[in-house]
Amino acid sequence: MLKLDQLCITLGQQYWRFDLALDPDGVYALLGRSGSGKSTLLNLIAGFLDPDSGDVLWNGHSIAHLEPAARPVTTLFQQHNLFSHLSVYQNIGLGITPNLNLNSAQRADISRILVDVGLSGFEQKRPGALSGGEQQRVALARCLLRNQPLLLLDEPFSALDATTRQEMINLLRKLINKYRLCVIMVTHDEDDVMTMKAKIIRLENGTVTLT
């Protein structure tokens, strides 16, 4: 499970202190006003920010000292998830190995994961030829293929239109069930929380409460 143990950080004038314990296959929605520190929390877990004190533990092991790439964490960002000069295949392949030397089993994995996100046969397309929803599906495919147990979603569908957004949420729910991940998703939308059947983490006054 994921445990935040007296994790503290000060950024500018603001101070946060996080204490939290999450199930290894729980689905959580992180709610809070803009500026309340939702991204700060995700960045601390993913390792993009260093805490002033405290610890992040996964299954009892501290991961706070690890580089982002070495953590059991994968993130779907709001935007800029893909490199526009690389093909879908290469973009996903970078999630398996940063030198893109892929063996036949790994190549087959990429094709299989593309089927899962409903984009089979898209291997050689460039991100520029895809719609916004399709781009996020490719990014999601890479997240799943990275084989990390903890998936962080930072308002991943906020740039999409309502219909596409609904499709993506349904797809996401299906894939989470299949891959049994621990998910933390930042969102503003109460409907998303319902569809995802997520437990709610509220972020207020620099601290979190699990409801």
């Binding site: 790439a69 070495a70 964490v73």
Partner: protein
């Protein structure tokens, strides 16, 4: 893939920290070390020498006083003339958004950034010189030929180079005026004067101080123009005086004294430019693409009503025509005179071919060094800025690459001369020294071209790169190189073109045995072998255009990659 990933996560297997190949500061430190070695050692040699100088006597020397005074006056006049002529040209071009040849004219305006100084000088002489087109035209009316050499020639050449640069920068800021302001002006019914005062001038005004400072610095340290068109103690700048002291008077202490004065003034100008709210992207703007077609058409429809008054309209056309003719004539004169009876023999001439080979060697190696130094510096500054959020430290590190703006080529040249003289034959090392100086001269340009794309591309994907564990060679191969090969191609092209056309370093260290095309051209012009000079100039221009286009194509590739 879903199978038991939670449990497979043992601390030793997946949770070991990634070991980073190269520490982030290494490339920057290496570049800094090389730059320091190439600048501080010559500087130290100069300071040691300067200790023995009788400064009171030197500063009281009327020759030195006159040279310093002339350097400042000609640079001031050049700056004023270039700016005063650039503003109406930019205004006219911004009012006339669409006409056949507009793109050609604007492209012509950036050509003066690429064309070697000495080549343009040949063209300017062919038009404005004593036996040039204008003087011949005047003599048919039995009028006196133009009194060209000295201050007038220097000013014409400086305006030729800097007016187009300034006009392009001003034009870009005029085109940045929001559509709403034009609509508002139309609704209020503003006349041309009100339009200029309330809308156009405020947009231009911000650019003037940094632009003026840039042009002043360029003209103050200008070498080839003053050496060719000036001359005599009445029209000599500090740069040229340093050259003359070293090469003709063999007066090392006078060279060091002049170089020290030059150094102090350049440090002052540099300090001033940090005070002035300076525009870091001035050169990028000069090379930038014009707005897309539909934008301009929209603005055109708006502007037509504003400049509809026929006198203003005529005035705009006249300004555009005069400015284009002014820039085009020297280039035309050069091209026309390059085809003459000596063409074939000059092209196959042993001296020409050796100079051509030397020029290619110097330009390619200098460009390679400049671009590598720029990339090495930026790899470190990008980490400082994006990962460590230390913008200021990043800027300071990057400032090291602009050292040549404080230490003009002739000053470094003097230092290198003093440094190496006890150990080696300085003139036998000419090409190496020219490459050193030229790569330092190209470095600020390479940095300016690469800075924004390198920082922006990295900024956009930084967290993704971290989470994927992309760094070192993998990052360079799959991310940085494909994203940056186009700006890298452009910076190589600009650096190579600048180095191929440079006269200052080779004038100092060149000889009968070791010459580049600019030096050969200068010597042929100086000995009035004008037909041979014309062919040499044409060849150098062709070489620069070839280098500029082929390097961009070879390195940048054909496909446009979104950054």
């Amino acid at each position: 893939m879903a199978r038991g990933i939670h449990n497979s996560l043992s601390p030793d297997a997946n949770l070991t920290a990634t070991t980073r190949g190269v520490p982030w500061w290494l490339t920057g430190a290496l570049a800094l070390f090389i730059i320091a070695l190439l600048t501080l050692l010559p500087l130290a040699a100069m300071i040691v020498e300067a200790g023995d100088i009788d400064w009171a006597g030197t500063l009281g020397n009327t020759y030195i006083q006159r040279v310093v005074w002339f350097s400042v006056t000609q640079a001031t006049w050049s700056t004023v003339l270039a700016l005063v002529s650039a503003i109406p040209v930019a205004l006219a071009l911004s009012h006339k958004q669409i006409f056949i040849g507009r793109n050609l004219i604007v492209a012509l305006f950036s050509l003066s950034l690429v064309i070697p100084t000495i080549v343009a000088i040949y063209g300017i002489v062919a038009v404005f010189g004593r036996t040039g087109w204008i003087s011949s035209a005047l003599s048919t009316f039995a009028w006196e030929p133009l009194n060209f050499y000295g201050l007038p020639g220097i000013l014409i050449a400086h305006v030729f180079f800097n007016m187009p640069l300034a006009a392009r920068v001003i034009l870009v800021s005029l085109q940045g005026i929001p559509q709403e302001q034009w609509r508002l002006a139309r609704q209020i019914g503003m006349g041309p004067i009100a339009l200029f005062r309330f809308i156009e001038w405020p947009a231009i005004r911000g650019q003037i101080p940094s632009l003026a400072l840039l042009i002043f610095t360029l003209c103050f340290t200008s070498f080839a123009i003053v050496m060719t068109l000036g001359g005599g103690p009445r029209a000599t700048t500090i740069e040229v005086a340093i050259y003359q002291s070293l090469r003709f008077d063999f007066d090392i202490s006078q060279a060091v004294a002049l170089a020290s004065i030059q150094l102090l003034i350049c440090i002052g100008l540099m300090a001033l430019s940090t005070l002035v709210k300076h525009n870091r992207d001035l050169h990028n703007v000069a090379f930038a693409a014009l707005p897309k077609d539909h934008q301009t058409r929209h603005q055109h429809a708006l502007n037509r009503h504003l400049s509809g008054k026929s006198i203003i309209n005529m005035l705009h056309w006249m300004i555009i025509i005069v400015a284009s003719v002014f820039v085009l004539l020297p280039i035309l004169a050069l091209i026309l005179s390059a085809i003459n009876p000596t063409t074939l023999s000059v092209l196959s001439d042993h001296n020409t071919l050796r100079a051509l080979l030397n020029t290619i060697i110097v330009s390619l190696i200098s460009a390679l060094i400049a671009v590598l130094l720029a990339i090495f510096l930026l790899l470190s500054t990008r980490h400082l800025r994006i990962r460590l959020l230390r913008e200021k430290s990043g800027q300071w590190l990057q400032l090291a690459g602009n050292v040549i703006l404080v230490l003009p080529p002739l000053v470094i040249g003097t230092g290198l001369f003093l440094l190496l003289r006890p150990f080696a034959d300085v003139f036998a090392l000419a090409l190496v020294l020219v490459i050193v100086i030229n790569s330092l001269m190209a470095l600020p340009f390479a940095l300016r071209v690469l800075d924004t794309p390198m920082t922006n591309a990295a900024n956009q994907h930084d967290r993704l790169l971290q989470s994927l564990g992309l760094f070192g060679w993998n990052r360079w191969r799959w991310i940085d190189w494909p994203q940056l090969r186009q700006p890298i191609g452009l910076s190589m092209a600009i650096s190579a073109t600048l180095s191929a056309g440079d006269l200052s370093a080779i004038a100092l260290f060149g000889s009968e045995q070791i010459r580049t095309l600019p030096l050969l051209l200068y010597q042929r012009m100086g000995s009035y072998r004008l037909e041979e000079a014309a062919v040499t100039a044409g060849m150098l221009l062709l070489l620069c255009l070839t280098l500029f286009m082929s390097l961009q194509l070879l390195i940048g590739g054909r496909t446009h990659v979104e950054a």
